[in-house]
């Protein structure tokens, strides 16, 4: 599995560490129900999955990667920072 890092180009997935579902939004701390959802519950879908990968052995950027979890095909990787800004 190779991940196309916007800075470093196509790199082996073993250079990255994985941090799961990137579609979740952190709720405000006073909303206990929403916080429980955010911390513990996952859609865990088949097919396309948006997820965080951190380029630990590269540029240290956080990426949002779109990957097909049924085939391991990596579709797209963008900087999480750019997405958050837009």
């Amino acid at each position: 599995m190779r991940i196309p890092c916007p800075y470093c180009g196509s790199r082996d997935s073993s250079e990255f560490s994985y941090s799961g579902d990137a579609t979740l939004t952190r709720p405000t701390p006073d909303n206990a129900d929403a916080m429980f959802d955010y911390v513990y519950l996952r859609d865990n879908p088949v097919g396309l999955h948006r997820e965080y990968w951190y380029h630990a052995a590269g540029c240290h950027a956080w990426l949002k990667v779109t990957r097909n979890v049924s085939t391991h095909e990596v579709i797209e990787a963008v900087l999480a920072h750019d997405e958050a800004a837009s």
């Binding site: 997935s13 799961g20 959802d37 865990n44 979890v69």
Partner: protein, 416 residues
């Protein structure tokens, strides 16, 4: 047909022509008292104990493929109860006790072999952690022994004791741990359940769960609708998908775990060894193949196959621990879908939907739990209350903060 020396002799004299199929390949009926979704080890064991312990036999086990095609036939066959937390030890120790009597109980040769499980330690800190674990195990009724380096050397003289980076200081030994022939476990439970009247139905995928007024009343399947008074979900890596049919989101991610087997060799490894300084564990099957594995690949996956970095990592661990392994050729490897829970421990509970019960979150270690899991899930389904050995492995523990996190990793499934 009961298996015994007499039945073997009788068949031998008649040319082995009288053996009958071991279980009925049943067709679905329109309605059951209890439907179990998933014909893996846990689903089949649940049906078996429902029939045997609770006298409930109007039961179907629905398996989307053939029984034994999931993790029950893909795991590396290790059984043990060497956990740290009492919530887990009580279940896994119940399970280990059931393994000890299983073959007599279900009259089937599952090759239960208590050859000992040894976890190596390589630092003072790790020794202290294992001493603590060993004490916890004893406090909770499991057996354990802390070995020093010479103790380990007596068992396994060929290990790389004085490796510059990770010298072996000793190990935590559970003598009652060992290995079991995994697919025979599926067949033994299927046969035992089927003999008592349970329908084991293969090639029957559950595609929907029917809910009326907050109550689960049946399932839609690839072989038609089936009504049920109670529905138990035991689908391991597919837990989130099946729960989603009832509108539920679970504290679970599906990941892939790989296993490896070498060519057949003469006996070299009498027990099970785990490397404490990396992700590697190994045993030798009775056919002679070295059976080994390591960590999960570490990302969400439904692919039932892994990638090369883990292959490399596992082989490096093997070489670090026992360099002799470098002379053996790897024959095959494969992957299975594991249901990684948010605290690394299983969930056996009712759901908020009446009549719908969940057995999930087994991570990479649910084979050893098969008899125990089936036993306590049967109790839950029959009595509508958790079995005492599993009454802290409930679904709402994540909300209430009573998580059961052996490693203290937090809600990060790929780190458990």
């Amino acid at each position: 047909m009961r298996y015994s020396l007499t039945s073997l002799l009788r068949q031998t004299l008649t040319g082995h022509k009288g053996w009958t199929p071991q279980w009925r390949d049943a067709a679905p009926k329109a309605e059951y008292d209890i439907v179990i979704v998933g014909g893996g080890g846990h689903g089949l064991a649940t049906a078996y104990y429902l029939a045997k312990e609770y006298g409930l036999t109007n039961i179907a086990v629905l398996e989307k493929s053939w029984i034994g095609s999931g993790n029950i036939g893909r795991n590396t066959t290790i059984i043990r109860s060497n956990y740290l937390l009492s919530e887990n030890i009580s279940l896994y120790e119940l399970s280990l006790k059931l393994w000890e009597g299983l073959e007599q109980d279900f009259n089937y040769n599952a090759m239960v072999s208590q050859r000992g499980v040894l976890n190596l330690y390589h630092s003072d800190g790790q020794r202290d952690a294992y001493a603590r674990r060993s004490n916890m195990m004893r406090l909770n009724g499991a057996d354990s022994e802390l070995l020093d380096k010479e103790g380990v050397r007596k068992l396994y003289p060929f290990l790389n004791f004085d490796a510059a980076r990770f010298p072996i200081q000793g190990g935590l030994l559970q003598k009652r741990g060992g290995t079991v022939r995994h697919d025979a476990v599926a067949w033994g439970y299927a046969r035992g359940a089927s003999d008592r009247g349970v329908d084991v139905i293969q090639n029957c995928e559950v595609t929907g769960i029917d809910i009326v007024d907050g109550r689960a009343v049946g399932v839609q399947t690839s072989r038609g609708a089936i009504r049920a008074k109670k529905i138990g979900i035991a689908v391991a890596g597919s837990s989130s998908r099946v729960a989603a049919m009832a509108g539920m989101r679970l504290p679970i991610e599906s990941h892939v775990l790989q296993a490896f087997v070498s060519e057949g060799l003469k006996p070299i490894i009498p027990g099970v060894i785990t490397f404490g300084a990396g992700h590697f564990y190994i045993s030798q099957s009775d056919k002679g193949g070295l059976v080994f594995g390591g960590d999960i690949d570490g990302y969400n996956s439904y692919a039932q196959r892994g990638n090369l970095p883990v292959v490399e990592d596992v082989c490096e661990g093997g070489m670090a621990l026992m360099p002799a392994i470098g002379r053996a050729r790897m024959l095959r490897n494969w992957g299975g879908l594991v249901d990684m829970s948010m605290d690394g421990s299983p969930i056996i509970d009712r759901t908020h939907i009446d009549g719908l019960y969940l057995n999930a979150g087994w991570c990479y270690g649910g084979f050893k739990a098969t008899p125990g899991s089936g036993f306590v899930f049967a109790h839950l389904l029959a009595r509508d209350e958790p079995h005492p050995a599993a009454n802290r492995l409930l679904l709402d523990r994540f909300r209430s903060g009573h998580i059961v996190d052996e490693k203290g990793q937090g809600a990060q499934p790929n780190l458990h």
